[in-house]
Symmetry: C2
Subunit: 675 residues, 2 copies
């Protein structure tokens, strides 16, 4: 009796796929500040002061070394040295301040403090829990606790509405377990592995690009003696680092096991292209979508919730005719304006700049309308969630959504590996006459002439480009023979007229067969949610100054709990009303909490503000109640029968709070309400 | 430079967890038909006929062997043999027919044909796709194509509404990757591995219980010479098979890798118990819930979509005080009546019987109210999805939802392994006086007496049970010394009165500390969906008899597409109206398809009936349209402005089709409509 395992599953380290795809656009690329003139001149000033200081120190040493030196002369030189020191220190301080102002992790102190405040609140209120905490956790794995989980499912539900439903996408759901052949074809196994370096002393492994990034950043921030030229060089390295990584060297996985946990969900869509194209009535363009877990075995996960080993991806693969990437709905988003960071500015180390999307497409900065359309739709999606216009967070710029034109790369790779044609057809309304080059080598003649080499010569002849073939035909017609270099033989052979027939034939074609291009918006759901948390967090001034009131200003759409129900004072009749309201909220599908603890209303508000509940219903009578909006703290009075309907209206997005405010009488909060 | 893998992930074969938990209730246990009297008597008849036939054949052989036999005598005997053959064959046919009538894979022919019709439709319309099909697939892995994926997300959304929202559960979301220590503690790694047998000739592995099941079933169906007694025995084996499997022998996994893909989502909840209990205000009972992927490396996946290697589980862990498993809402479900299959009837090989839930709890067939409450809620959940009252499918009875009382098993195991107390507290309203045994070994005296063995003796003394300690105290008081066996030393030592003090002390306690019990409803989402597909499928009689019209009668709640929009004839003005309606449906969040192909309305209906679209809007004017209900084929006329609102009402479940039918004028379908 024996237990057999049919496959073993090995997760592998995997960079966001980027390098092999041209025209990659990311909504949050690693933006780097341009070096301000002041910083550059401050570096020069500091260098001058330091040089003067060094010279004076040398002079003092020389004076002291000479026995003849007068003590007064020495004293004066030392005084002067002190003055130089003060000046150099001041220049260093000015430079330090300038460096700290210039973003990207450099305003480190305040950013770090802000992040700590957010993360503390998130962990204390169980938005996140380090996975397997009682076993001291596993780096790079986090659980979503109840409010985090609710936010996540709200974000995914809205993603489905905004993309799948509104764009009629074909959503699929494929397994995480993926056979090796699929990831061989896609290139994941052989090509896209991260370069690793190992600390020979400690045995610890690091990603080469991370190590380089850390070194450059630390040098820039801490080494004030850095010359302006050297600083510019390091900044350039940081700017182009993402383009340097991977793909010069490829490293295979250590074990040759046939199963992997998928590093992205996209491949599941590509391998189904043929069925999905048929499902769509054999028409292009169409988009398929998938939400699911992906796994990347990060060597040393850092950046807390941003770089993890298992995460939820939501990916769209929009298949288009490579010859027509226009989009009928592009006009709907072409007037959007937001910060863009074109390749040119990136490579030059310049900064991002605001642009109008339509203009970016016209100028070719965004390659085509379809790519532009998705950039616009993604922007709107993030804005609806409550993310700032610029998706920077306390860690700097991080990639939350990558929008890539993957061209025909993946479909071609899977066609080749599987032998199944993953192609689209364009039927012509009337057949077209096309010219086709036809090369027919005479195997008999070639066999007589080249014996065992015949096969290689035949292959070389068939592989000729149109230009080469026409040149050969001309030579054969004029001279009767021609020298022909056969690479696989490593030498030239003489080809005579009877050995090959080269002609241009006219053919009627009824359709064009081609491999579609793929535009891929890929969403890192966990990263989006983390940015949402940072962008929604604020600290409300409290009347008692020692207290800190944390608030998440989640829009109702993503708020984990839509409303709370509080009896104002602890009596049976108010508790009963609260329960009736809770039942009506449940029936309307509105998530809520009842708090009948009898704590002060102010404390109960504070508790729920901290998990971002947008509306609080306070039961202060048996006929009507008040509804309070979290951020404005405004209150209205609504009858008990209507309250669920009103809350549903504002949480479903049918009405805004402003609309509601206009329709119901305002309620002036008593002093006791918010203490 | 080297690539390092921090962990490898090995999925393991895993039975549904069942054996170690008492009082396991499954909504779909392996029900077996009782052997019908007719079948039993038919087996006896066949045996008699066969015996008579054999005797006659022997007589013929004997006659032929005797040289003296008259040819007339031989002819008569042969004629008689023929008659016996006919009788035996007839008896065999009657038995075969009886066996085929008696369920559980035995009406094999028609069940198989029905399943093929369903599965063909599911695969043709891309509800499912064998994963990685272009690479010839991987056994036990399936993709959900667009309609299947939509059904799945509707089922999960309703699960969240029905359980998480309505019962105020704490939903969490934990990673699939799980460190070994967690699954060591839970017992998955050491205990719950399936018994495997290996075919020594081919090297193929089988699950022992499957092999046994197959053998018994095949024997019962095909071997008509089986005695009635033998048949009864095989049927009994089948009835108790689930109780035989696992746990007598435990087989460890082959590799000692520290990471696994989780076989269930439950452990993620257990390890978070402490935080979740705190989140719930340190109050019991409360339930946590999780939806996510689970992995079981089935050795040879069979039963198509039912036994797969990766699947979605939705699990609830309801934590209760083991001394109080009443449920305040049990009364809401206590009057439900459905088929139950108590342990007694299972073991006796009897069949399931209808019972009222309240009665089942009163009689102790269902152990407690909390367990009963969940059985009722699960029943209502399945019924709302459109699943038959009995969740049998063409494969027989399969486990779709397991509802187990896991007692305190998991929390205790994780407490022990992690050293973190996973307990609840019951604060007493006034403190209680309790008696406590206090054993205080004198380390000094024990050290003098036992030197290096002192520590082991101290530990052995402290580990005494109350009974042992009181016996020792009595002996010490009467005799002054006592022989005490120390297991860890492997011998007895002499303990004297000065070496240990044993007393009973009265203490005041302000609270009770205990490990909660866990009631676990666990849903195999893929299996539920597959049963839903079988239960929703029917074939509609067609006017042209050669055509087969397949229909899925999905309730609007789970239908992948809620409605279609068809212009009756191909004109610009109807197409424009169709597009306006489509936009209003999108805005209302209703999934839909526009079909402007101009195919006949009948064909368009047939196409969408086959993916279970409940409502079809036909545009036949520019002011109003018709809405047709899929199963009744009834039609009403609704104005264009109202159509989205009406469809939303019936798909959201606010109104039924009957309600709507009453409010809007009926539209008589023309003959051309459904041809």
């Amino acid at each position: 009796m024996r237990l057999a395992y049919l496959y073993s599953i090995v997760a592998k380290s995997q960079n966001p796929i980027k390098t092999p795809f041209p025209r990659h656009v990311s909504l949050a690329v690693s933006a780097l500040p341009i070096m301000a003139d002041s910083e550059e001149s401050l570096r020069r000033t500091l260098a001058e002061k330091q040089a003067a200081l060094d010279a004076q120190a040398e002079a003092v040493r020389a004076l002291k070394a000479r026995p003849a030196s007068a003590s007064a002369e020495i004293d004066a030189a030392v005084e002067s040295l002190k003055a130089f020191k003060v000046e150099a220190a001041a220049a260093a301080r000015r430079l330090q301040a300038a460096v700290s102002r210039n973003g990207d992790g450099s305003t480190a102190g305040s950013r770090e403090a802000f992040r700590q405040a957010v993360v503390n609140t998130l962990e204390r209120r169980l938005f996140y829990i380090p996975s397997f905490k009682i076993y001291r956790g596993v780096a790079g794995l986090y659980d979503y606790g109840p409010p985090g989980c609710a936010v996540k499912s709200n974000v995914l539900a809205f993603w489905r509405q905004h993309f799948v439903l509104e764009e009629n996408m074909l959503e699929v759901d494929c397994p995480c377990v993926t056979p090796e052949i699929v990831l061989k074809a896609s290139g994941h196994v052989d090509k896209f592995t991260d370069l690793m370096v190992k600390d020979e002393k400690t045995g610890t492994c690091y990603r080469a690009d991370h190590l380089l990034k850390d070194y450059c950043k630390a040098k820039l921030e801490k080494d004030l003696t850095l010359s302006a030229e050297k600083a510019a060089e390091l900044k350039h390295i940081l700017a182009v680092l993402d383009d340097l990584s991977a793909d010069e060297t490829s490293i295979g996985p250590s074990g040759l096991s046939p199963g992997y946990m998928r590093p992205e969900t996209a491949q599941g869509i590509f391998v189904n292209f043929k069925d999905l194209y048929y499902y769509n009535g054999n028409r292009l363009p169409f988009a398929a979508a998938q939400i699911g877990q992906a796994f990347r075995n990060e060597i040393s996960p850092r950046q807390g919730l941003l770089r993890v080993r298992e995460f939820t991806l939501a990916e769209i693969e929009h298949f288009v005719d490579p010859e027509d990437k226009t989009h009928p709905k592009f006009v709907d988003v072409s007037n959007l304006e937001f910060l863009m960071f074109p390749r040119k500015e990136q490579m030059a180390g310049e900064s991002a700049k605001p642009m109008i999307l339509g203009e970016a497409v016209t100028k070719g900065i965004v390659n085509n309308e379809t790519l532009g359309y998705f950039i616009g739709r993604v922007y709107l999606f993030l804005a609806c969630l409550g993310i700032d216009k610029e998706i920077e967070c306390s860690y700097g710029w991080i990639e939350c959504v990558g929008i890539a034109d993957r061209s025909a790369y993946d479909l071609r790779a899977h066609s080749e590996k599987s032998g199944v044609a993953l192609v689209a057809h364009e039927k012509f309304s009337e057949s077209r006459e096309v010219e086709k080059l036809v090369i027919v080598p005479s195997k008999k003649e070639l066999g007589l002439a080249f014996k065992g080499n015949q096969k290689l010569v035949v292959e070389a002849l068939e592989a000729m480009s149109e230009k080469e073939a026409l040149k050969m035909r001309a030579s054969l017609e004029s001279k009767g023979e021609v020298d022909f270099h056969v690479c696989t033989l490593g030498k030239a052979v003489v080809i005579t007229k009877n050995m090959v027939s080269i002609s241009i034939e006219k053919k009627k074609e009824h359709q064009r067969v081609f491999t579609p291009s793929v535009i891929e918006p890929s969403f890192g759901i966990g990263r989006i949610i983390y940015c949402l948390f940072e962008h929604s967090f604020y600290i409300r001034p409290s009347k008692s100054e020692d207290e800190q009131l944390n608030v998440f200003r989640f829009p109702p759409l993503v708020a984990p709990i839509k409303c709370t129900v509080f009896p104002l004072i602890k009596t049976q009749k108010f508790d009963d009303v609260a329960k009736i309201i809770a039942r009506s909220l449940t029936a309307a599908g509105i998530s809520h909490i009842i708090d009948i603890t009898g704590t002060s209303i102010g404390k109960r508000y504070a508790r729920t503000d901290e998990i971002g509940v947008p509306f609080a219903i306070t039961v202060d009578s048996t006929s009507s109640v008040t509804i309070r909006e979290r951020d404005s703290k405004e209150q209205i009075r609504v009858s008990i029968d209507e309250v669920a309907k009103v809350v549903k209206e504002v949480t479903d997005g049918q009405s805004t709070w402003a609309d509601i405010l206009w329709r119901y009488p305002a309620h002036a909060a008593s002093l006791a309400d918010e203490e």
